[in-house]
Symmetry: C2
Subunit: 463 residues, 2 copies
């Protein structure tokens, strides 16, 4: 499949995004599907990358998807399956003709098959494993034996390696004579006699060096091996931190068992980010192609947690019913204090969660960061206290009310800075993903503190 992308200069709608399917393309394809025009469909799809076809399938309705896949028939490519969002992958596999599915799967590299299998239910896993040759199936099953989300699942097993004592000439002769080099490789891994990797050399360096130069003299300065059971999140971090292009994977005896390349690491980085951003918002695993019931189910637990914390905050308000009855302006103003605290807390929290993910917030600087967040809360709290104090005086004509809301604001924003940093750090220490649960805790704290400080001060100072 060759898909050359003619870019901006030839695009008739320059404002349209060029790296995505445009709406007209999707409409044109759906039209030929409706017309049952197979020939024209294949023609239209030919210029699309598998990733774009997957996006197309994600963007249309389940019904349109079924028709399109039926019409497209044997043209359906294994790579499209790889690129599909897991939320509709099962559906698509269910719709595919078993023979088309078998052909599609056989086209894939073993690491892509593993990636495909991970998210499927048992019977669909079996169907795919059965489609593979015996040799491929063994490789895939071995990879599936490694823990989920580990380097072992991510790596490819075909590694181009050379003894560390070889020179450039020997490496070139070996490579030129090899029958089966992997589709994608960029480095030759040097190994010692016990199969332990000791460094790697880029193909570019090999190309550019005289034949007599020792491989061990032209290894890359930055070399990291990855234990096979390491979490893929750490793998992505290492690639990003050390600008790795590929890295050898080793077993517990430090022996070479595979290699991970940067494109896989980049995909993991992207997934990890998606997870963080969705978790921070209290959305479990959501995807745009999930159905209504699935989405409702995913969002429900977080809303339930929020209901409990909101009721908790209401209980605090209920303590002061008499105070509010005596001075209804308090009911009008109290959400402002809680809301400002909630916002300041979310700011601190997000910076902390992100810094924990990038390993920038550690034991070495946690106290400095906490101090900073509290000070920032204090200063912004003071500024907004003055602003709200003035609003309170003008609106309700009561300087005392202005003072109460001002003091409550400062207290809540300081607490927000503190809670927004301490809570994610503590969750991380406890082994809980700070992105997952921090939000609910932090807003509970700022709601409770906000209402309590404001209404409590009002009870003391106004009545």
């Amino acid at each position: 499949m060759s898909d050359q992308d003619q870019l901006a200069s030839e695009n008739d709608a320059p404002d349209e995004e060029i790296y995505e399917l445009n709406r007209r393309e999707v409409a044109a394809i759906l039209e030929v599907v409706q017309e049952n025009n197979r020939e024209r469909l294949v023609e239209l799809m030919e210029s699309l990358h598998a990733a774009d076809i997957a996006d197309l399938l994600e963007q249309i309705s389940a019904n349109e998807r079924r028709h399109l896949i039926a019409l497209y028939g044997v043209e359906f490519d294994g790579e499209i399956l790889s690129e599909l969002d897991e939320s509709i992958r099962e559906e698509v596999i269910g719709v595919l003709n078993p023979e088309v599915l078998a052909d599609a799967v056989r086209e894939l590299e073993s690491d892509d098959v593993v990636d495909l299998l991970e998210d499927l239910e048992e019977p669909q896993q079996e169907a795919i494993l059965d489609a593979l040759d015996d040799a491929d199936r063994v490789v895939v099953e071995q990879a599936m034996a490694y823990p989920e989300d580990s380097a072992g699942r991510l790596m490819q097993r075909e590694v181009v390696m050379a003894p560390e004592h070889w020179n450039v000439g020997e490496a070139i002769d070996f490579l030129r004579k090899s029958d089966e080099l992997p589709e994608q490789f960029y480095h030759v891994v040097l190994i010692d006699p016990k199969m332990r990797p000791t460094g790697y050399v880029t193909l570019g360096k090999i190309m550019g060096s005289p034949r007599t130069v020792q491989l061990s003299d032209i290894t890359e300065p930055s070399f990291h091996t990855i234990p096979v059971d390491r979490d893929e999140e750490d793998v992505a971090y290492a690639f990003n931190q050390y600008h790795l292009i590929s890295a050898p994977v080793v077993d517990k005896d430090d022996r070479l068992v595979g290699v991970i390349t940067i494109d896989d690491a980049m995909a993991v980085l992207d997934e990890e980010h998606e997870e963080d951003i969705l978790r921070l918002a209290g959305v479990g695993e959501g995807s745009l192609t999930d159905r209504v019931i699935e989405t409702t189910r995913q969002r429900f637990p977080w809303l339930a947690v929020n209901l409990v914390t909101a009721v908790l905050a209401s209980l605090v308000i209920a303590l002061f019913e008499d105070v509010i009855a005596g001075f209804v302006a308090l009911a009008v103003l109290m959400p402002i204090v809680a809301s400002m605290g909630g916002n300041a807390g979310t700011q601190s929290l997000t910076v902390a969660v992100r810094a924990i993910a990038t390993k920038d917030l550690t034991g070495s600087n946690v106290w400095r960061v906490i101090r900073r967040e509290v000070l920032v809360g204090l200063i912004n709290g003071l500024i907004f206290a003055v602003a709200m104090g003035i609003v309170g005086v003008i609106w309700f004509g009561s300087p005392l009310l202005g003072l109460v809301i001002g003091i409550a604001m400062v207290i809540n924003m300081v607490i927000a800075g503190l809670a927004g940093t301490v809570i994610p750090v503590a969750l991380e220490k406890l082994g809980v993903d700070p992105a997952l649960a921090s939000g609910a805790f932090v807003t509970t704290v700022t709601d409770v503190v906000g209402f309590f400080a404001f209404l409590g001060l009002a009870a003391v100072m106004l009545l």
Copy 2:
């Protein structure tokens, strides 16, 4: 600099994260800095990658930073500067001895120098440009002429290319004879006589093919060129979507002007993630190393926007002061309705913002997504309406109050689903980053609707 990383198996604290500086290392380094022990400092730092040294500098105090840099002296490496967070880069450049700075900068590749210059003030830019050789300075100044955050700033100019009619043998001979191949390259770009790229071939394929094979017969199936003025965000998207390892950059006449490699694209992807996640939380450009005043200043505008929207919501409450005075339970329960709406809205919003960023939410499926979000809001709204209705009845003994809070909950959660999707899509259409401003709009909507629906219904049904 050679930094081999001995991993897990030899780590005495297996629970400790292995891809980051550990706390003991930092403490040990700070100790030798205090002792003014230069020799031992150089020794300790030798095993650290530049990225880790940058992290170290970010994690210690400004004072410790100054001492460490002074003691480290000429060992200070250009790469450390590249890796430093921009928030302390200026400070570090200011502290560095001018000669050390000049040496450090001269070690860097031209695209790294460009990256360094982008975030600096005029006088520091001059100082660095002056340190460069004339040839390097011209290259850097040319790159700086491209728009900020464009492919032109990101690319490196050294491209390994070959005429499209060459065969493998010619390519190998050419590469073996070249004096100056770039440090990192993985592909040979094929060009036509007008310097327009027509495809690319991996070094692996060249190594593995007979000398007589035409290069044009072994090009990669997926080939994308990148216009030089394209936004780096789109570049990162294209690399991630099409699994590119490198991509040629072309000018407006489609002529080859440079190449972007995946490691740069991965760094951009990571930055874009950071931007999205921070903007969603109303944190401008924040970084963990910013000082208190800088951080206060960054967070202030978003808190100010929130204050305005919170006052807006309070004005809605003020409309119903009499109703609340007559029935104080309303003041106790009203934050629950607003809070549930705010949470549901944030869930929808985050999914939408993320889907827009990954180009999964487009004109083709926006109506289907809106319908889904509204339905999800309706179903969860109904469930929580029943739950809160029961709470209302038990707590305050009033079935009517239970009904009021239930209806208000359904209304607000449906509106939340609608606003959470429509607002980011609309902002995107208007050319505003949806991550930046959506949050404030959505919570304003859910606060105003929540208070208005609850108190309005109460006024009609309870009094």
